[in-house]
Symmetry: C2
Subunit: 270 residues, 2 copies
Amino acid sequence: MTTTAPSEFDLDTAVRPAGPGVWAADLAAGWQVGGGLNGGYLLATVGTALREAMPGKPDPLAVSAHYLSASVPGPATVEVDVRRDGGSLATAAARLVQDRTTRIEVLATYGALPGGGEVWTTAVEPELPPRDRCVSGAVAPADLRRVAPLMDRFEMLFHPDQVGWAVGAPSGDGVISAWFRLPGREPDPLALLLAVDALPPVTFDLGRPGWAPTIELTAHLRAAPAPGWLKVRHATRTLVGGMFEEDCEVWDSADRLVAQSRQLARAPRG
Amino acid sequence: MTTTAPSEFDLDTAVRPAGPGVWAADLAAGWQVGGGLNGGYLLATVGTALREAMPGKPDPLAVSAHYLSASVPGPATVEVDVRRDGGSLATAAARLVQDRTTRIEVLATYGALPGGGEVWTTAVEPELPPRDRCVSGAVAPADLRRVAPLMDRFEMLFHPDQVGWAVGAPSGDGVISAWFRLPGREPDPLALLLAVDALPPVTFDLGRPGWAPTIELTAHLRAAPAPGWLKVRHATRTLVGGMFEEDCEVWDSADRLVAQSRQLARAPRG
C-alpha cells in the first residue's frame, strides 16, 4: 500500500503547538457517533499531543482516559503536563478541552514498544472467517449509519455469527469481532488507540442498541502492529447497575496481540 | 464478626485534612514488599482521600493509577483536584507525594455502587477448593516473607494447584488464586482496592520469582462486597518486551464479581 498524501485519520488527529504544554486540534465531524465524537478518535488525538510532549518516548504503553463530557466537532486544545521522564518511560497527564469544558482527563505512560525478543503467551487469537465471508459495516441499518458517520472512516468486516444485531437478531453472547483497517494507511500505535474503541458497543450483541458512553477506558499497547488488517474483538461478561465492561483485544496480521483495553461504560436502556 | 476497634487496615490507610485539597497520611512499614510499599495498599490510601474529597459519591467505580516511583514508609500527602462533580458521578485527579517526589498519579471516578437490581453476566466464578484444603500464605518460603511483611497483613489461602512456585515447581500457567480476608474487618470498596494488588505477582507461577513493579493499574468496582471471605484470581496471558499484564477478579461470598482490574507491570528477570 503506497500512501502519497496524509490519510484522513492523520489529518483529523493532527495537533499544532499553541503554547507551553498546549496543542490545538480541530475535531472533525466525520468521527461522530450518537451524542458525541468517538472516544477512540479522541484518544488518538490526545495521544498525538502526548507523543509531541514526550520526545524520545514514541509509543503509548498505558493510556487511561476518564470521559467527562461529550465532545463536539470543532476547535479543541490538549493540555499536557509531563509528570515524570526518566529511564525508558515517561508519564504525563493530559486533558482535552473545548470552550473551557474538559472532555477527557488522561494519564499516559509512553516508551518504546518492543520490536522483537522474548514472547511468552497463552493468548488465543480471535477466530474470524476469511474477509470475503465476513459482513461489511456498510450493510449496517440506515438509522445506525445516520447517527454514526464514524462508520465511514474505516473498513470493518464483522464475524458473520456476531452481526445478528444488524437484523434484529443479536446473539446474546456479548461478543463482536471484526477485521479492521484504515483506508490508505497502515496501522501504528496511534491507530491502535482508535481501534480499541471503534466497533459498535458490544451491548448491540445483547439486544441493546444505542449509545454507550464510556466512563473510563484504559489501553495497554503490547507491540507495534505489522502492516495489514487488524482483528478486533470486543466482549463483555457483566452488566450491573446500568454499567458494563467492554474488553477489547487487537491482533495484527502477524498474529500478535498488539493491544488490550477495558472500558467501563453506561449501558443503553434495554 | 464484631469489630470493637479500627482495624490495622483502617488505621494504616487513614488520612487527615492538611489544607485545601490536601490530605496527610502515614504510610506504614507493615505493607512493604520487595523494593517498596504494596501498590494496593497505596491505592486504598489514595482512595480514602478521594472519598473525603467527593462527598455524596462514596464508592470508587473506576480508578486508574500510574506508578512513578517506589513509596517508602513514613509521611506522605495526597493531593486531590476534583475535575467534575455532577449527576451520579464525580471525577478527580490525585497524586501521592513523598518528600516532593510523586509516587503515584491517579484518575478516579466515584459514585454509588449498585445495591441490587438487574444483573446480566456470563462471568464464571474462579474454582477454589474449600479453605481447609487450600494453602496458607503463612507457609511461604522464609526468604519471600522476609522481603514481604505485607503477607502478615491479611489471610491468604492459595489454590493448592497454583502454589507450586512456593516449592520451586511453578505450574507455568500464569494463574494464582486465593481466598482473601483482612483480619477483624469485613470487605468494603476500599478493601477491594487493596485486594486487586495483594497477591504475589502472577509471574511467580511462571517461574519468575521477584518483584514486579506496577507501571499502570486500573480497577473497576462492580458491586459492594458482601461480608465474608473474598476469592481473588490473578492471571496473565502475555509477557513481551519485559512487561506482562495481570488481570485480577475479586468475587465476594455471595458469588458476585465485585471488582476487576488489569495492570501492566515489569516482569522480574527470568
